[in-house]
């Protein structure tokens, strides 16, 4: 463009369009950190070739609070509120994972009633979390009303948790040695009522979303994470079960009192024309898991025993020198707590293996070759909570 402002010089058209010489180049698109389809503050740097994703690089850390460093300066009870804040949609399950690690080192006997309440609340939390996943996933793919129906049901669970613990989202309810408050017979009756009602709701969701042709076309054969890929990346939870692997820690290595309950581990079987490992499989595993959770809750309601809710724990918790690695099955996958103690009243090191961290790292391999709209469907199907990815 030189010589434009030289007076008297004749400006000639410098470019002619020759269509056969036109070539496309990759366009870099920044998706997030504030984007409704990334479920939080995930930033994905996408290189697109027209509408097709060529590379995708997930960037995380926008919600990093270094909770692991914080917990090195807190006593063992004070860590629980911080653990809540990792996965704020599945706080009960996170608390249970951390508390089990402390109790394993402490050798505490937890009263039977507390164990039943723990299983009850963590299964209810699993339903609440999967409802959220279901609602937002439908929202990602353009269906708005399932989101509202899911929130309506989730609200009942949150209301119960609020009465139990005093908070709606970040409970600090499961304590080392037991649980904070006892559950009343009235509340148990309400849980039973919720279970009856919820099975009807699940059938409704099935017709509304799962059997919808448009939803199926958007999710079937999209974002395939097969079993081999899951093993390579260490994926767990609904992602692994969506790949057809019947792996659930509650069955394989039962913690708490999960060995006393009868339930199935739902895996993707490729019905309704889905490929095993695609978005639809992961979605359908979550839907089936909800009805299995209802089954467990029903058994808790019949088996629950009366008794104390707190075991004997000293005022200042001091763990022996050593370390443990405890895994529990959270709504999003396996939560691993690596707790190192040096004999003091504070953890020496607390490392959290978060399932979503693993699943986000898989995005880079799944994305190439997908349409951008399908990539959104893939992000939604792994159900990430960025608070847990970044910790």
């Amino acid at each position: 463009m030189q010589g434009w402002d030289v007076p008297g010089e004749k400006i000639e058209p410098t470019r002619t369009v020759e269509t056969e010489k036109l070539k496309t180049e990759l366009l870099t698109l920044n998706m997030g950190p504030q984007h409704p389809a990334t479920h939080g503050v995930l930033r994905v740097e996408i290189k697109t070739d027209s509408e097709v994703v060529a590379h995708a690089i997930p960037h995380i850390g926008y919600l990093h609070r270094c909770m692991e460093k914080h917990s090195e300066n807190l006593d063992y009870r004070g860590v629980i509120p911080f653990v809540d804040r990792m996965d704020y949609l599945g706080a009960m399950n996170q608390e249970l994972g951390y508390v089990l690690a402390v109790e394993k080192m402490l050798g505490t006997q937890v009263p039977r009633r507390a164990e039943f309440i723990r299983v009850l609340v963590s299964e209810l939390q699993r339903i609440a979390s999967h409802l959220m996943a279901f609602g937002t996933y439908a929202l990602d793919l353009g269906a708005f009303s399932p989101f509202l129906y899911a929130f309506d049901e989730r609200e009942k669970i949150l209301r119960l948790f609020e009465e139990l613990s005093g908070a709606r989202l970040l409970y600090n309810y499961i304590w080392v040695g037991g649980v904070w408050n006892d559950i009343t017979a009235d509340q148990l009756a309400r849980v039973a009522e919720f279970c009856d009602n919820f099975e009807e709701e699940l059938k409704k969701y099935d017709v509304l979303v799962s059997q919808n042709k448009i939803f199926m076309e958007r999710t079937r054969h999209v974002g395939i994470m097969d079993a081999d890929m899951c093993y390579r990346y260490g994926a767990t939870g609904p992602v692994l079960r969506g790949a057809g692997v019947k792996w659930d820690l509650r069955k394989v290595k039962p913690y708490s009192i999960y060995n006393e309950f009868e339930f199935d581990v739902p895996v993707a079987d490729g019905d309704r024309g889905a490929t095993i490992g695609d978005c639809y499989s992961r979605y359908i595993v979550r839907m089936k898991e909800m009805s299995e959770s209802v089954r467990i809750i029903r058994q808790v309601l019949t088996k629950i025993e009366s008794g104390p809710i707190m075991g004997k724990v000293s005022k200042v918790i001091k763990l022996p020198k050593g370390e443990v690695f405890v895994r529990t099955e959270c709504p999003r996958g396996e939560l691993g707590i690596h707790l190192v103690s040096d004999g003091e009243a504070k953890p020496y090191r607390l490392k959290v293996k978060s399932p979503c961290f693993t699943h986000v790292s898989m995005l880079g391999e799944v994305a190439p070759g997908q349409l951008i709209a399908d990539f959104v469907a893939t992000i939604g199907s792994i159900d990430i909570v960025l608070g847990e990815v970044d910790r």
Binding site: E68, M105, R232, Y233, G234, V245, G322, E323, H338, K351
Partner: protein, 192 residues
């Protein structure tokens, strides 16, 4: 149940330089682990993945721990097989803290890619031959490694003051220190 002694023998037979030994936990409630030499970590990872006797198909997590004289890197391996499910912790100790280096195992286990990046970001262990060796949680130009025990937060980051005094509420925090002055001032005021 997995017998750690047998597994350590198995690792030694496959990789003689590993010098694998069982770190038995002092307390029964704690977990035992197998410790190997840091230089042999890649070979050990290869032998753990590709064998028929103790196949470990999943690397769950890499967890670094900072000790006064060394950095310990823990690799949690597991076998996600219903008939043959087991897991164990592999430890290795990096002695030189100022120049902590390990071989990357991300060519064997893809999961190690991000886990090693996190270990580098938080504890400053460099992984050789890593495909994408960057910080992951902190910004790229962050100074220091937060999970080291001697970590001090940098004062200024990109022209922004970290923990500025105006937000630290020193007035209330140091109330007790200034208590005498305050009570004197109060008694003076009441006398007037």
């Amino acid at each position: 149940m997995l017998n750690l002694n047998d597994l350590a023998q198995f690792i030694n037979s496959k990789v003689p330089s590993a010098a694998a030994k069982v770190n038995a936990a002092a307390e029964a409630v704690c977990d035992s682990a197998i410790e190997v030499a840091p230089a042999s970590i890649l070979d050990v990872a290869k032998s753990l993945k590709d064998n028929s006797k103790y196949p470990f198909n999943v690397l769950q997590v890499i967890s670094g721990v900072d000790y006064p004289d060394h950095i310990e890197v823990n690799y949690m391996f597991a076998n996600f097989d219903l008939n043959n499910a087991y897991e164990f912790t592999l430890k290795t100790k990096v002695k030189n803290k100022n120049d902590a280096k390990l071989e990357s195992i991300s060519s064997v286990y893809k999961a190690a890619d991000w886990q090693e990046r996190e270990c580098y970001d938080m504890l400053g262990v460099t992984f050789n031959n890593h495909p994408d060796h960057r910080r992951i949680l902190c910004p790229d130009d962050w100074e220091g490694f937060p999970l080291r025990k001697d970590y001090v937060v940098q004062k200024v980051y990109r022209g922004m003051e970290v923990n500025p005094d105006a937000k630290m509420n020193w007035g209330d925090r140091e109330f007790a220190k200034r208590q005498e002055e305050i009570t004197k001032a109060q008694t003076k005021a009441s006398k007037k």
